[in-house]
């Protein structure tokens, strides 16, 4: 169902297919503008990366989506309708600053949080049981939260975020504080939730996570949205027409036509260089030129990583 949307959703005309849209959101605090005309669209069933340096305004936006605060101007649509109180039950939120009641039993706490999200005690109980089996944490039910390790608390909090099977799950730095094994466990859960039809918003600094999981991204910088769309398309935009080549021998005279950079020896006898094509020259031409000079062992296009995209996009914006 989201298949149609994949290709068009970055345009603002795909209303029914977006689980969430923000339109021209402005939010001002005492002496600074936290969000300046921010419009994003989050396609149903996607994993959406909300990126940006610290203090860019991500948390402000997330709080508006969670109805913790309201925008000064602009509006938010949830599933095509203006965001309202009845949507609260359809959203699950894991804030960056994790927190649980320290002196409350794990089981009681999860039951309480689930009921706040509109589940009945019975429903919550059933769902909790299956999560406790899934995560193999049955013995934790009667423990106080303060008796759990930090990683264990994170697990409990993750369960509380997704227990009510929300349509939209907002995860702020979901992997921080997890060891690699548990991080994988959580990642698999996130993918499974998406499989079941949930949409996930990721707010993170960890570009490898974005690389791996996100279909769409939006980049917020200095309170403004500077970039958004499908991840692959954005990477495409940030390509520099640069190719890498691994070879035996010495590149000679190539620098007259191409920009050769980052030449280094990767193992005895083999070098690797990045070569940028000038306009009007394609990769076949470069390959031909290379073959004449050296023995090519590997050749390919340098696709920018999300890390590159992030750094470049942020640095290209001039200081306000």
């Amino acid at each position: 169902m989201w298949g149609i949307c994949v290709h068009y959703s970055h345009t603002p005309y795909c209303y029914r297919m977006n689980i969430l849209e923000t339109h021209n959101i402005v939010k001002e605090y005492a002496n600074h503008r936290a969000l300046d005309d921010v419009s994003i669209s989050i396609p149903k069933g996607s994993i959406f990366g909300l990126l940006g340096p610290n203090g860019a305004g991500k948390t402000s936006l997330i709080r508006i989506i969670n109805q913790i605060t309201g925008p000064d101007s602009g509006h938010v649509l949830f599933d095509g309708k203006p965001l309202s109180e009845r949507h609260i039950e359809r959203i699950g939120y894991l804030p960056e600053e994790r927190g649980l009641y320290k002196k409350m039993k794990v089981g009681d706490q999860l039951l309480y949080l689930a009921q706040l999200k509109g589940l009945s005690e019975k429903q919550a109980m059933e769902k909790l049981k299956s999560w406790f089996i899934k995560f193999d944490i049955k013995t934790w039910w009667d423990k106080n939260v303060s008796d759990l390790s930090k990683g264990m608390q994170q697990k409990v909090q993750f369960v509380s975020t997704v227990l009510h099977e929300p349509d939209l799950i907002i995860l702020d730095e979901p992997f921080s504080g997890f060891d690699p094994i548990n991080a994988n466990l959580i990642r698999d859960e996130i993918l499974e939730l998406r499989q079941k039809g949930s949409t996930v918003i990721f707010s993170t600094h960890r570009m490898e996570t974005v690389e791996e999981l996100c279909d769409y991204i939006a980049l917020i910088h200095r309170s403004k949205k500077v970039l958004d769309g499908p991840k692959n398309q954005i990477k495409e935009q940030f390509k520099t027409n640069t190719y890498y080549v691994e070879y035996m021998g010495i590149l000679n005279g190539l620098a007259e036509q191409y920009a050769v950079s980052a030449t280094r020896e990767v193992e005895p006898g083999f070098h690797r260089s990045d070569i940028q094509l000038p306009e009007g020259v394609n990769s076949n031409q470069l390959l031909r030129d290379l073959i004449n000079q050296v023995e090519v062992r590997a050749f390919g296009e340098n696709i920018p990583t999300m890390n590159d995209v992030f750094v470049r996009a942020v640095n290209e914006i001039p200081e306000a």
Binding site: Q67, P95, G99, L113, L116, K117, S160
Partner: protein, 443 residues
């Protein structure tokens, strides 16, 4: 509404299940009853009888020291030195030495004792000696003790309250006691439970769970749920205290049963005995034939108890709601308990002031200080409770109640404005100016 109930239920259950709640709830009545049981035990039963030797060289006091239940006087006729020796040998409590010239030099009376004698015993002995010297001097002046006692008239007035229901015997003593107790209870509970609300808010803030919670419920609902939940904890504690105290008292009463006198006559006797042991009230004890217990009961009955109890509940809740909202706002404005001090003063001052005013109002329950402080919402919960046992015109009660309701609606509104911003503010020392700004923030 459903969310407020959920929050309320959690706040209530968490507190009621706490060990400190259980301990306080069960220990306080035990201590209370235990204290009274001990007092009664000591007063009624187990006082050791003492022997006091009297060496009266003046010969004026023969037969003047009357043996009581606890003190047995022995008259000696020997020299002071051998009396001192016999004091040690007989293990008596004390030796009273009255020299021959006691009429001229009353300060020469001496009490010898191996251990310090109690103040009570000392003043008893002094009283007896003074009285005898007084009698002798009076006789010399031609006045008998009888004439003197006839001249002393003890006035114990009865106050009659004139109301629409007609004349009714009332007691300003009982009114003072009831008013004072009610005011004190409200004073303590506003502090204790208000602080609990504040702690609860800072706990949610420092543990950072608040962001999760307010993504599900409105800050106002969270605040109200907490305030009402804590109020119910307070009411539960009151009710349990009353029930347990009553239960324990009857148990203790049954256990002390054989020690306690059965019929009123005996009770009166007991009270007089008790009073006799207390020199200050010795004279008063002979005053009236009325049974003091039934006197107290009838005095309490003369008060409008249903009105007092319903007003107590109203002013307890009203006062608590008015202040706990403010306590909650303070909890939201700071990062941890240690920082609360700077904002506490404006909240605690009116409470402490009303408690101080209460002492004056007790003396003059219808003065203008009493009137105004019982109308103004910040002081009315305590002051009005002081006044009510004395009788307050209906319109004043109504006005004070309406203003109190408006008052707590006002503070709740104000607190909610500060609360919604404060709970998400971290790492910032907040000033009053800042708080004022928060009140007017939108969204």
């Amino acid at each position: 509404m459903k969310n407020i109930l959920l929050v309320l239920k959690r706040e209530y259950m968490v507190r009621v299940k706490k060990k400190s709640f259980l301990i306080m709830t069960f220990l306080a009545p035990l201590l209370f009853v235990g204290f009274y049981a001990t007092v009664i035990w000591v007063a009624v039963g187990s006082v050791e009888s003492k022997t006091v030797q009297v060496l009266d060289q003046s010969g004026l006091f023969t037969g003047q020291f009357q043996n009581s239940k606890t003190i047995n006087f022995q008259y000696l006729t020997m020299s002071l030195d051998s009396a001192k020796a016999s004091l040690k040998a007989t293990k008596s409590t004390a030796l009273v030495y009255i020299p021959e010239d006691v009429m001229e030099n009353p300060k020469t009376v001496k009490i010898y004792a191996p251990k310090n004698v109690s103040l009570e015993l000392q003043s008893d002995i002094e009283k007896t000696i003074e009285k005898q010297i007084e009698s002798i001097k009076l006789t010399e002046a031609g006045i008998t003790r009888r004439v003197l006692e006839d001249s002393r008239i003890n006035v114990d007035s009865q106050t009659i309250s004139l109301s629409e229901e007609g004349e009714k015997s009332s007691s300003s003593g009982a009114a003072t006691a009831i008013g004072g107790i009610c005011a004190f209870l409200i004073y303590i509970s506003v502090f204790v439970y208000g602080t609990q609300v504040m702690r609860g808010v800072t706990e949610e803030k420092t543990s950072r769970i608040v962001e999760v919670i307010i993504s599900s419920v409105k800050p106002f609902q969270l605040m109200m749920g907490k305030i009402i939940g804590v109020a119910l904890v307070g009411l539960t504690q009151f009710v349990l205290w009353i029930l347990l105290t009553v239960a324990l008292t009857s148990v203790a009463g049954a256990m002390l049963g054989d020690q306690l006198p059965k019929d009123p006559q005996q009770i009166e006797q007991q009270f007089n005995d008790l009073n006799k042991n207390m020199p200050a009230s010795a004279l008063k004890a002979n005053s009236g034939p009325a049974n003091p217990v039934s006197e107290v009961l009838s005095a309490v009955n003369s008060l409008n108890l249903p009105l007092i109890i319903s007003c107590f509940l109203f002013y307890f809740l009203g006062g608590y709601l008015l202040y706990s909202a403010l306590f909650g706002a303070v909890g939201a404005a700071v990062d941890n308990d240690a920082d609360t001090q700077q904002f506490m003063l404006p909240i605690t001052l009116p409470i402490i002031f009303s408690f101080v005013f209460a002492q004056f109002v007790l003396r003059d329950p219808d003065g203008s200080l009493a009137f105004w402080t019982s109308i103004i919402p910040f002081t009315s919960p305590i002051i009005m409770m002081v006044r009510i046992p004395f009788g307050v015109p209906g319109w004043q009660i109504a006005l004070s109640m309406v203003l109190l309701v408006l008052g707590f609606m006002g503070t709740t509104w104000l607190a909610a404005r500060i609360y919604r911003i404060g709970i998400l503010m971290y790492g910032k020392k907040v000033s009053y100016k800042e708080l004022a700004k928060w009140v007017f923030y939108r969204g």
